[in-house]
């Protein structure tokens, strides 16, 4: 019964991954696609990327961005989850509906909405910032053209999109925390922040850990949002490993060999990062 699925995984995943590793030791490029001719170059592609500052910068950007997104998502998500526990029922329903709605939005659509929100000249965000008068007239600011602003723009998009999952999951975890325990702590004179730190936080820690791991994996692999909003620009400033892999392999003269080497390297880094997560899942995996 497992055979059909195994054969499928073999054809669509194992064979391609074999091809990927194979391609990473060749100089496969545009020419090869037409003529089929390529040479083995051994580990030359790996040597080239390890000495290329572009690769290291892409790696640094990926890590910094992954961490920045993680912090933003978890802080806002956990804050909202906690806030929801103290809201009147009606308002809590409204918050839940807003969260589910934003969660359900496909990211291709929201990425395009983002470009429109932040559009120079007619974009509503620039207009709103201008109205506050803090930065003067900002209506013509082009977010995608400035490295810092481009990052900020993508950061806001991804945080906006991933807070709902975090907030709803953490809210579900918080509602499982024993009410008596919280009351007991309050009767003992604990402040609200102490109750959160001592009672709630330890109880939701496993969920928090799970979210952290998933966030790291998702953010590390982020592609659509960056590609659709900035295309990795300006001048490669928002090019993470995923974007760097893609542009190396599929633009210019299609350096597929080099792109493959970058893809192999990023896969290894990601697997190392998520080894802990895999172990956790394997342990919790009921009776594997």
């Amino acid at each position: 019964m497992l055979t059909p699925a195994s054969l499928m995984i073999l054809f669509v995943m194992a064979v391609p991954i074999g091809f990927l590793i194979f391609a990473s030791v060749t100089n496969y490029n545009q020419r090869t696609l037409f003529t089929g001719a390529f040479d083995f170059v051994g580990l030359q592609q790996y040597g080239a990327i390890l000495t290329s500052p572009d690769f290291w910068w892409a790696l640094v950007r990926t890590i910094v961005f992954t961490v920045a997104l993680l912090i933003g998502t978890v802080l806002i998500g956990a804050g909202m989850a906690h806030l929801m526990t103290s809201l009147p029922v009606a308002l809590r329903h409204v918050v839940t509906v807003v969260l589910v709605l934003t969660w359900a939005m496909p990211n291709v659509a929201t990425s395009l909405v983002w470009s429109w929100l932040f559009q120079p000249q007619y974009g509503v965000i620039n207009w709103l910032i201008s109205q506050t008068g803090i930065f003067g007239d900002t209506t013509s600011v082009n977010w995608a053209a400035d490295p810092t602003l481009a990052w900020a723009c993508v950061w806001l998009l991804v945080v906006w999109g991933s807070v709902p999952f975090t907030a709803l999951t953490l809210y579900a975890a918080e509602t499982q925390v024993s009410h008596d325990l919280k009351e007991a702590a309050r009767l003992d004179g604990a402040s609200e922040s102490a109750v959160y730190r001592v009672v709630i936080l330890p109880a939701i820690a496993p969920t928090l850990l799970l979210i952290t791991m998933l966030s790291i994996i998702w953010n590390f692999n982020l592609f659509n949002q960056i590609w659709l909003v900035t295309k990795g620009g300006p001048d490669g400033a928002t090019s993470t490993l995923g974007v760097f892999t893609y542009t190396t392999a599929f633009s210019g003269n299609l350096q597929i060999g080099a792109g493959s080497a970058i893809a192999v390297a990023s896969t290894i880094i990601l697997l190392a990062l998520s080894a802990l997560y895999i172990r956790m899942l394997v342990r919790s995996g009921e009776d594997l």
């Binding site: 699925a5 995984i9 007619y122 592609f223 995923g242 192999v264």
Partner: protein, 292 residues
Amino acid sequence: MTTARDTAISRPRRRRRPFPVVSSLIAVLFCIVWAFPIYWMINTAFKPRQEVLSSTPHFIPENPTFDNFVTAITKGHFFVYLQNSVLVVTGAVVLAIVLGLFAAAALSRFRFRGRRTILILILIVQMIPGTALLIPQFLVFNATGLLGTYWGLILAYVASVLPFSIWVMRGFFLAIPIELDEAARIDGASTWQVLTRVLFPLVMPGIVASSVFAFIAAWNDYIFAFTFMKDQAHYTLPVWLNSFTVIIAGEIGTDYGGQMAAATMFAIPVVVFFMIIQRNLITGMSAGAVKG
């Protein structure tokens, strides 16, 4: 009332907390900020061009119009792309779910050598970055003549959704007590009958949930379709969405009104499906089998 409160000694008195003014204000602010992008998408979709391209934004369309939807549908080849998307996504979901269903059944019901290894491999392949699969699939499909065909794209989507479909459905299988299989067997059911008559109907919520997850993942793909489909007639909706250019006064620009109308239409099925599993996941889990 006072007497009622005084006599209710046995019940612990709830400390009445004051109405959470600050929390409520923050929540309202949060809702406005989070709902705004979606509101702005819909709002723009209903605006005529002079209101879309206005230096002072119109927060409510003054002359609401369906023009953007009409343009998006009639200009260009909306129905071709819609058909492509539906074809490719349906193909991928059906294939992944059928294969995944049997794999999940085997992985949850039978003990055999290598089972643990397979499960760990499933978890690992699920984490491989999209671009790391994109490159070699491009090469394999190029070599096998599948590049640029619907089948190529279907297989690419199966690759990205099959692992988690197996994982999700396996969870639903594990939730069904093994006693149920045994009871059916004692009644003389064959393995095939146990699967099709007992287990498959019970994991239906799991099938629905993983179908929807798979649907959303494939429907939302941009980069595989963009990279594999060189013929414009084979593009899917996400690729079409990103190509709303219009020539205004001799300059190429984006037709934001049309694009937002298209994005709204593109998002609707996803939101609807999402709402469906929200309910299904809960009822599916709580409507468990075997009582007593």
